[in-house]
Symmetry: D2
Subunit: 136 residues, 4 copies
């Protein structure tokens, strides 16, 4: 269907490093909050997914930092699905600056894991139906 | 010459997330502290490099998470150089768990930038001589 | 005048520790973002205050943790001014959980400092006029 | 007996904010790591305490920031016990800069809680015997 999810927020002061840029590690937090916002807006909040018995440890991440994010900027993360497999999923991200410039492009891959025993498990149907709408 | 640098430390409590694993974003902080430890041990501390006029914004990062790091583990980061170009450098990392398992493999690419004007600039000779020893 | 400022947000996944509570250090980040939101909503964003030459290092903080904040909760920080002196200011905070319970009460004291020389300096008039409205 | 525990470490790059100071929230992380180092050095690591069934949520914290900590500084946290009660304990801290100046003084109060049901519980004897040595 090619729907993207957008998550917008102000950069926090404590995320900015002595170079006056957002610290490189915080982009992974922004990616995470964009994923979480996607399921929240689809009425399946992440804490409910976890209490339903699933966790999604990250197996891979790639980030291309294209232009710095400065303190005070209002940022947009665009998140979509690259693929959904039985036990794993891949998200694509773009972080956009207020002037429309791309700050960062990247992806993350996650396993779907049963939180009781840490075994791989099928992505639950309720989550799959939400995520399918966002496949690129 | 194929020398690696090893940086060892205990995982912090505040770095561990509700899944009981070290949060995925903290691995980039561990990579950073390993780079910084490398230059510190070679008597060119990072704050001196910055006061000499250079900063090294990250342009790319890749992380493959291979097994989770738990609270209380004593971790080792092995860092080496993949390449040194005129204006950029690439580091390789392995994070090793106490049992010898690889927790994460990855790399980061950094530009060398003049902190007064944010222009690309040659890696300073003093730093280049240190880093060359660690090229894979 | 006794106006309070309210700042609302969802707890982030990476802020939650292995006890499943928001980590104690994150409350100071929440206090900071509430202060910053207060001046932003009054059309004097913090990055502009800094570029006007002022910084506000913390000189004191007190936190009373009254009930834990869990992942997924939508939280409200209520911030007001305890006092404004020539070179310093004190903020009061309450963090409120979705069920109305107080999660934390606290205060922070900040000096007003000239960022060029780190000397104490009068709180700028433009900022003082904003903050005065929020004195308890 | 009046024994203090000292925990030493280098400030991390990602902990320093745009004012070039260590961010005010990181001091609580430093306090925590000093507490954890104390029990680790006494052969009762914190992850073992937790797997023995105890957690120690913070009920109160106070911090007096006396002089800024800058990037690259090698810092010392001195931690001792103010008191041990049945269900709670209070720690005192001093953070010392390389030149001997006090960067921060503060305290934290913690409840001793049974992690299965979140009820208050007596501080376990093994931990009490360690902490008693550090009472001021």
């Amino acid at each position: 269907m090619n729907v993207n999810h957008e998550y917008k927020f102000f950069v926090r002061y404590s995320e900015v490093d002595p170079m006056k840029f957002v610290h490189n590690s915080k982009y992974l937090v922004y990616f995470e909050e964009a994923r979480i916002d996607l399921v929240r807006k689809n009425n399946y909040p992440y804490n409910q997914i976890e209490s339903d018995g699933y966790i999604f440890p990250m197996s891979e991440a790639k980030l291309e930092y294209k232009s710095s994010i400065y303190y005070g900027e209002y940022i947009k993360v665009i998140v979509s699905l690259a693929y959904l497999k039985n036990f794993s999923m891949k998200f694509n991200y773009k972080i956009i600056k207020p002037d429309g410039k791309i700050a960062c492009e990247g992806y993350t891959v996650h396993a779907c894991v049963d939180k009781r025993n840490n075994d791989f498990v099928d992505i639950p149907e309720k989550l799959r139906m939400i995520l399918e709408k966002y496949i690129d």
